[in-house]
């Protein structure tokens, strides 16, 4: 599904990523883990087009998307959520999801201003869909609330609903469990599996090892900008290099 080949990223003299190559298999839940500063978020930013890579290529379903801007990648089905939840705080919960449906609708400046009949039909359709998505993540009662006032946990659910609105083929989640309590994390795990069951491939960066070991089919371990290991959760748990990177030498 997503193929990273030889990704490198330098910020001035600092090498944040070096020679990262792996494949996120179609239909899998792939976890990217590593100690703080390993380059996980940078890798996400390169994969989604926030930063261009200094070297290497990003391939989505075999197509080179390295030069596409984020909105172009979103249209191809590569969608992400953010570590610190980037909601549109001054808009309502429903409107946030409606922005997610931007690519699923097409009314432009003129048809919006003149309320063309087909634009009204489209508007009704996207509103219905947005409500369905809020049902899917379990927060339909919050639809008219201003998104900036949501709790962290609810905000995370909204962000996932909004990302789902883009009909992603691949959903990248940056630390979805960060800031959630244990019951919220358990709900999140169920939600992520539910999304996978819809046929959506998932990549996630996560620190919560219980969550990662529970839901991931495949893990990639980064350390100091390089790839340390790749394999199933069981293989990674027994990998000596990984244990050393996390816990230090004996």
């Amino acid at each position: 599904m997503l193929n990273l080949s030889g990704i490198g990223k330098r910020f001035g003299g600092l090498t944040a990523l070096d020679g990262i190559s792996f494949n996120v298999g179609e239909g899998s839940i792939t976890g990217i883990i590593g100690p703080n500063g390993a380059g996980k978020t940078t890798l996400f930013n390169v994969a989604t087009g926030i930063y261009p890579p200094s070297s290497g290529a990003v391939l989505l379903q075999g197509k080179d998307i390295s030069k596409l801007p984020p909105e172009g990648r979103a249209r191809l089905g590569l969608v992400r959520t953010f570590q610190n939840i980037e909601l549109f705080g001054k808009m309502t919960v429903l409107e946030n999801v409606l922005v997610g449906l931007h690519t699923q609708s097409k009314a432009g400046i003129f048809s919006c201003a003149f309320r063309m009949p087909w634009q009204m039909t489209e508007e009704r359709r996207v509103r219905e869909r947005a409500k369905e998505l809020l049902d899917f993540v379990g927060i339909p009662e919050l639809m008219d609330v201003e998104a900036g006032t949501l709790s962290f946990g609810k905000g995370r659910l909204l962000e996932i609903a909004r990302a789902m609105a883009l009909e992603p083929k691949l959903l990248l989640m940056d630390e979805p469990a960060a800031g959630l309590n244990s019951s919220e994390t358990a709900e999140l795990a169920d939600l992520i599996k539910k999304i996978r069951d819809l046929g959506i491939t998932i990549g996630l960066v996560e620190h919560d090892m219980d969550l990662v070991m529970d839901i991931c089919d495949q893990l990639v371990v980064l350390n100091l900008g390089t790839m340390l290991a790749e394999g199933t959760p069981r293989e990674i748990q027994d990998n000596q290099a990984v244990i050393t990177a996390y816990l230090g030498e004996e």
């Binding site: 909105e71 549109f88 705080g89 097409k106 009314a107 400046i109 919006c112 201003a113």
Partner: protein, 317 residues
């Protein structure tokens, strides 16, 4: 949805009836300028209040509209309605081309670039004497007319200007409550997140900039035909700052706020005649106190104030 329509109809009614008690007096004349300023403020509010992109050069588009119509209808004797359409389209095309490089800038840099556009346009109005008449202005601009109806009195011009204003308010209300408007507000809140959602931020910012220039150009054309005389001082940096003050006071991101701000700031100078050249100081103080105490403008601030006062009274009772 229903209450939005009612609100708009009520507003139309107020606009329709407002000049009746004034009997075509001096205040009718002031209300014409409330209409023109309202249209200009609305154009800037779509750009700044919704999309979050500042422009300190709105006077340039206003002036280009006024001078475009003025010159075409005097020197070239073009039909005023045709001239208005031609000029508005040309100014919009100019803004569209200008928007791509300029709107790559953010914050202070965008403010500086648009300020530059405003200053350059004002210098051009002053210096191209053969075309614009320079500092002494351009006179003899005809009134607009439809068939036999010539818009030559304050009352007629009031209804002319406000018909335009109402149409623009109606279209703007549609626009901000739609896919396009949501895209703009998303860009305002978080451009990165908006782009990740597939919102083409670069294009939409240029589109709304173009729209605001188009609206300003129409206001300029109306202004020149109402005044029949224009000079560069009406399109100076001062005007751009006034428009900014109007929407900050009325309410950023509120269509009706633009009109309320235009109303207050057009009436205010009439009331503050004694301040004369110091009016810019008053504007500055208004801007500062509004951003500190009522960041949502009067449209959001007054209901909030009532909400704060009413429960307090309830608890006393």
């Amino acid at each position: 949805m229903k209450s939005d329509k009612l609100k708009f109809l009520a507003f139309c009614l107020v606009v329709l009836l407002a000049p009746l008690p004034l009997a075509g007096g001096y205040l009718t004349n002031v209300l014409i300028f409330v209409g023109i300023n309202g249209v200009l403020a609305l154009g800037l509010n779509l750009l700044l209040g919704y999309a979050g992109q500042i422009s300190l050069g709105q006077a340039a588009f206003f002036g280009l509209g006024a001078y475009g119509s003025g010159v075409l209808t005097t020197t070239y004797a073009m039909n005023p309605w045709l001239a208005m359409a031609v000029v508005a389209v040309c100014v919009a095309a100019f803004a569209f081309a200008l928007g791509f490089p300029v709107l790559r800038l953010k914050g202070h840099y965008l403010a500086m670039a648009t300020l530059g556009v405003g200053v350059i346009a004002n210098i051009a109005f002053n210096e191209t004497v053969d075309l614009t008449g320079g500092p002494s202005g351009l006179s003899g601009i005809p009134n607009l007319s439809i068939g036999g109806l010539i818009f030559d009195t304050d009352l007629k011009n009031y209804y002319l200007v406000w018909s335009f204003a109402l149409v623009m308010i109606f279209l703007s209300l549609n626009l901000v409550n739609s896919r396009f408007g949501r895209g703009l507000r998303a860009i305002h809140d978080s451009e990165v997140a908006a782009r990740v959602m597939g919102v083409n931020a670069r294009l939409m910012k240029v589109q709304v900039f173009t729209l605001s220039a188009f609206i300003s150009a129409i206001a300029g054309s109306l202004y020149c035909h109402v005044m029949t005389f224009i000079s560069p001082t009406s399109f100076s940096f001062h005007v751009s700052v006034e428009l900014l003050t109007m929407i900050v006071i009325g309410g950023l991101g509120s269509v009706y706020g633009s009109i309320l701000g235009a109303l207050l700031l057009t009436l205010l100078p009439e009331m503050l005649r004694t301040f004369h050249d110091y009016d810019i100081v008053v504007y500055g103080m208004l801007l500062i106190s509004m951003t500190i105490y009522m960041p949502g403008g009067l449209v959001a601030g007054i209901p909030a104030l009532f909400r704060r006062l009413l429960p307090a009274r309830g608890s006393n009772a």
